[in-house]
Symmetry: C2
Subunit: 317 residues, 2 copies
């Protein structure tokens, strides 16, 4: 039976205390050039500088360190196209247990290398949800490892929410907070924390038009099936889960979809002006801000930069 | 008659006070992955996040704000392949005066755009020192603008030295400080400050093998003519000047040359592991550390990351 209990802000606080010894408190950066273009003040929470190169380390470490000893002893397993895989591998290494990863053959090289580098066991599968789940189930049958879902998981959502908690400590007076949405783990944790700490804050998500199941689910009020996604934002390919959908409906104000050229151009803007490496998924949030310039005019908005694991040999610009 | 007066540490302090309202106090970053590869602790002073994307803003702003009113009124002029041009254009804009730049047609697009963006007047020339100087002289005849040399200039050296001053405030216990050397402005300022603040610190420069006039001058004790440079490190193409040569001989302990594959691989390491964008010239310092691993083992070394103005459409890896 699926657990649809929504985490509270205390659950996020507890997660933060649990993971703090193992994660970076990432910096918040600004760019006057980008502020000028966007017509508002943007504060980028740089999870591209997080361990394993993405916010996913927060959730994975929280999930792995929440396991009981006897569960942990058998290891953890997941399927992931990249960042969650690396994060779970890192978390398992930190706890000294095994991680088994079902990974699509098509995942970026840089992500494959990272997972292997943390000592996880990779089993390659086809880049379909079916093949990923089948490979994962086989791993679990063989090893008894605990499945840690990439986002539709109570402890994962709690861990991801710690990025917003840090951001709001570092920059207290935000009017708006923006996160990209794929499976919805980051957005869920961000929204729970932000609405607790500042009830009148506006929580906005950016989503690729070509992977817009969250938008369609949000506006219809019913979890919509994903159509095969086709976006450069390779971290946002997964559909919402039932838990993340429930949280997002409760705490998110708006989902803004953006097209592919807008994502690529926002990514290039961040690289050129801020001199930081962000993956395409991270640019989706800035693309949403630029698309709805009027809505953001003169406001202070925090943007969660999800990660920096871009494949340097396949830049989209 | 050329002024070969060497700046003192007080001159660097005064420069720092003069420029502080206009520059960023850039962060110092570390990477446990790179520390492991290098076998020492490295602290990267991230001048890639500096205004105009490079340390050059420090020197240019110091030089422009050191001018008397009547000099400033006629504007400033220089020849530069990129970062000094953008920095001088920025500095002139901050003071509200004109900047005239003689720029090789072959300069990276991103640098041309930056210079134009700061409102400077660009005159294109051939990518030879002769053509650059001829174009510059014509500008000066026409306008009466003050020539601000990119590095062989007292005020420029003072400004560049402020990066080392900040770094040593931010990370006090360095055994070694490393900077790349092209014309020698950054290295000169760095060396003067470092040896003042910590007389037993080791000052090391990294230089491309394919543009090694500083190394040959340093070891022979005589300013050597440059042979046409041929390196990916496009910020290090200029030969030492008489002032910077004199300073470097006095305050630098060693110049380490590195080959092109080492520069490219160090650059890729910084991009992949630190998720920051640095230009090839900045990677020369890390390449020097990795080449002489034994010399750095277990030490704490500060690295001045010179800039982040890499042409994203022409990556060398």
């Amino acid at each position: 039976m699926e657990d649809l209990k929504i985490p509270s802000f205390e659950d996020i606080e507890k997660a933060h205390i649990r993971i703090e010894p193992y994660i970076h408190r990432t910096p918040v950066m600004s760019s006057s050039a980008i502020n000028e273009i966007a017509g508002c003040k943007l504060y980028f929470k740089c999870e591209n500088f997080q361990k394993a190169g993405a916010f996913k380390a927060r959730g994975a470490i929280n999930a792995v360190f929440s396991l009981k000893e006897e569960e942990a002893a058998k290891g953890v397993a997941t399927h992931s196209s990249g960042n969650h895989a690396a994060a779970l591998a890192l978390a398992a290494m930190k706890r000294g247990i095994k991680a088994y990863i079902a990974m699509p053959e098509t995942a970026p090289e840089v992500k494959k290398k990272a997972v292997a580098g943390y000592g996880a066991e990779i089993r390659y599968c086809k880049p379909t949800l079916e093949s990923r789940e089948e490979t994962l189930n086989q791993i679990i049958r063989e090893t008894g490892a605990t499945f840690i879902h990439a986002y539709n998981d109570f402890n994962i959502v709690c861990g991801q929410g710690t990025a917003a908690r840090e951001l709001m400590q570092q920059q207290g007076d935000l009017d708006i907070i923006v996160a990209p949405v794929g499976g919805g783990g980051l957005l869920s944790g961000t929204a729970i924390w932000a609405k607790h700490e500042k009830p009148d804050i506006t929580v906005i998500a950016g989503e690729p038009e070509n992977a817009d199941d969250a938008y369609r689910s949000f506006v219809s009020g019913e979890l919509q099936p994903a159509v095969p996604p086709n976006t450069v934002a390779d971290g946002l390919l997964m559909p919402l889960g039932r838990l993340t959908f429930k949280i997002i409906c409760k705490y998110t104000d708006e989902i803004i979809t953006v097209d592919e050229p807008a994502i690529v151009s926002a990514m290039q803007l961040i690289w050129e002006r801020m001199k930081i490496i962000v993956e395409p998924s991270s640019a989706v949030a800035l693309a949403a801000v630029i698309k709805r310039k009027e809505e953001f005019r003169g406001k202070k908005a925090g943007i969660i930069v999800s990660g920096g694991n871009a494949d340097l040999r396949k830049l989209p610009f």
